[in-house]
């Protein structure tokens, strides 16, 4: 009959005697215990589970009341999650839990070329950019430049279809240390700087936009840039 679970001896004891046998720790101690358990436990803990883990006779609910008060206004709060309790970072400090890292990456070649064409030829349509680059311009490239706020939409061209144009922004000028797009070195200067091949272009080769130096074009675009 003596099932080990029953502990009939203990239950047979008179009330007061049991009390003295299982003296609960002082409330301050109980509070420490609840604090440690909630801190170390991965899941929220119910009052019942707390008491199951604490020495006999503890009143976890009361300890929680004290603990909650102690943590009120602190960087960590005692919160109730359903039936259970857990410690959580104070909501106003959530920003500390984010770590912002800035990764710098070089702009892709396609993006640089597109940007260069916009800077030199602005206002320029997508079709014109494609004509100059000789390849189609992916939507992603333009979107990336728009997102970086280095280019923006200019006014629509007064040509059939009224295509949108792109122009460079103040942020672009700022980033590249230019006062205006006019300050971009022209083809002659690029050539002088060795960035362009020095050979004179064969006369028979029709030059894209050569003749009207890009400066002029850029100059034309300038007014556009600051007009609104």
């Amino acid at each position: 009959m003596s099932e080990p679970d029953d502990m009939p001896e203990a239950e047979d004891l008179p009330e007061d005697e049991e009390q003295s046998l299982f003296d609960a720790p002082p409330m301050g101690e109980q509070e420490r215990m609840v604090e440690a358990i909630l801190f170390a436990t991965a899941e929220p803990v119910t009052v019942r589970d707390l008491e199951a883990r604490m020495p006999h006779g503890c009143d976890a609910a009361e300890a929680l009341v004290h603990l909650r008060k102690r943590y009120s206004g602190r960087g960590v709060h005692l919160v109730k999650v359903g039936d259970a309790w857990a410690m959580r970072t104070a909501p106003d400090l959530g920003f500390l839990m984010q770590k912002e890292t800035v990764e710098t990456r070089k702009l892709s070649r396609a993006a640089i070329e597109t940007l260069a064409i916009i800077a030199y030829h602005q206002p320029v349509t997508r079709a014109e950019i494609e004509e100059i680059r000789g390849v189609s311009v992916s939507r992603g490239t333009v979107d990336q430049l728009l997102e970086m706020e280095w280019i923006r939409f200019g006014r629509r061209k007064m040509t059939p279809g009224r295509p949108v144009t792109f122009v460079v922004t103040e942020a672009f000028l700022d980033h590249f240390g230019l006062e205006s797009a006019r300050d971009l070195p022209g083809l002659k200067e690029l050539r002088a700087a060795g960035l362009l091949d020095n050979r004179p272009s064969p006369a028979a080769m029709p030059q894209l936009g050569e003749g009207e130096e890009p400066e002029d074009e850029a100059g034309a675009g300038q007014s556009e840039l600051f007009e609104d």
């Binding site: 984010q98 770590k99 890292t101 993006a111 260069a116 970086m148 040509t159 080769m205």
Partner: protein, 269 residues
């Protein structure tokens, strides 16, 4: 009493109790349990029950040699380390027993014995602190870290950079490519009918009155004669196409007179 176990073993003729013999044999059979000769020496030295600094190295050497003798008698395989130590201890023993040779330049027997004592003491000390270290409160056993570490949310911002030089080089690259592209039929001065048609379709809605089709030439195509010719032909062909579609009307008053175009009445674009 334990003190003389090994002496007894060393001097075979000496009497030894059964218990002593059993203890000695247990030591030998357990040879695998030792972490090498130094460990064995340390264990043996404990039988001297003195401070390790005051230990009798001579006595210890005798105990060790007796152990090795006994192991040999039992035909136990001893690791080379144990035999090396035995040989060295035999040498040390002779040094300690014989008066020093003034010709000898090497370390004295006392120096060697002192160092051995130091090694034993150091090993014993390390064993002791290792035990103290392991007896400390340990994380995950006695104290605990936060159960639910909140992951720091990483907000990664990608920033693209380019320098003015990149920009200039990029532009120069495009222009250079144009200059040195392989020869192809140059389309720059060709205005195709498709282009003209697309253009005209956009403009025809505004053409309420008769207008010379030359005014429909695209910008920039009316100065250069080559371009002008191409654009004119394309525009004319496109106009014919629009007439065919019923969206425009064309007229020409005379041979070589200007050709005029207008939107066909009653039709919306």
């Amino acid at each position: 009493m334990a003190d003389n176990i090994f002496e007894d073993l060393g001097h075979r003729d000496g009497p030894a109790s059964v218990a002593d013999r059993l203890a000695a044999e247990a030591l030998i059979v357990d040879v695998d349990g030792f972490e090498g000769p130094l460990d064995l020496l340390l264990t043996l030295s404990r039988t001297q029950k003195v401070d390790l600094r005051k230990i009798s190295v001579l006595h210890l050497a005798q105990q060790y040699l007796a152990f090795v003798e006994r192991a040999k008698a039992l035909r136990l395989e001893l690791a080379a380390d144990y035999l090396v130590m035995a040989a060295w201890l035999a040498f040390l023993k002779s040094r300690l027993l014989l008066p020093p040779d003034p010709q000898d330049e090497g370390p004295s027997g006392e120096d060697l014995a002192a160092h051995l004592a130091f090694q034993l003491e150091r090993l014993a000390a390390m064993r002791d602190v290792a035990a103290r270290l392991m007896a400390r409160d340990q994380k995950g056993r006695d104290f605990f870290a936060r159960g639910v570490p909140e992951d720091v949310m990483r907000i990664r911002t990608l920033r693209y950079t380019a320098t003015l030089l990149d920009l200039m080089q990029g532009y120069a690259r495009i222009r250079t490519r144009d200059e040195f592209r392989p020869f192809v039929m140059d389309r720059d001065s060709v205005f195709t009918m498709e282009q003209a048609l697309e253009r005209m379709r956009g403009l025809i809605g505004f053409a309420g009155d008769w207008t010379d089709i030359s005014s429909y030439l695209p910008d920039g195509w009316d100065n250069d004669p080559v371009r002008r010719r191409s654009a004119t032909a394309a525009t004319f062909a496109a106009s014919l196409e629009l007439v065919k579609e019923g969206r425009a009307e064309l007229r020409q008053s005379d041979t070589f007179a200007p050709i005029q175009l207008r939107r066909r009445e009653g039709r919306d674009v």
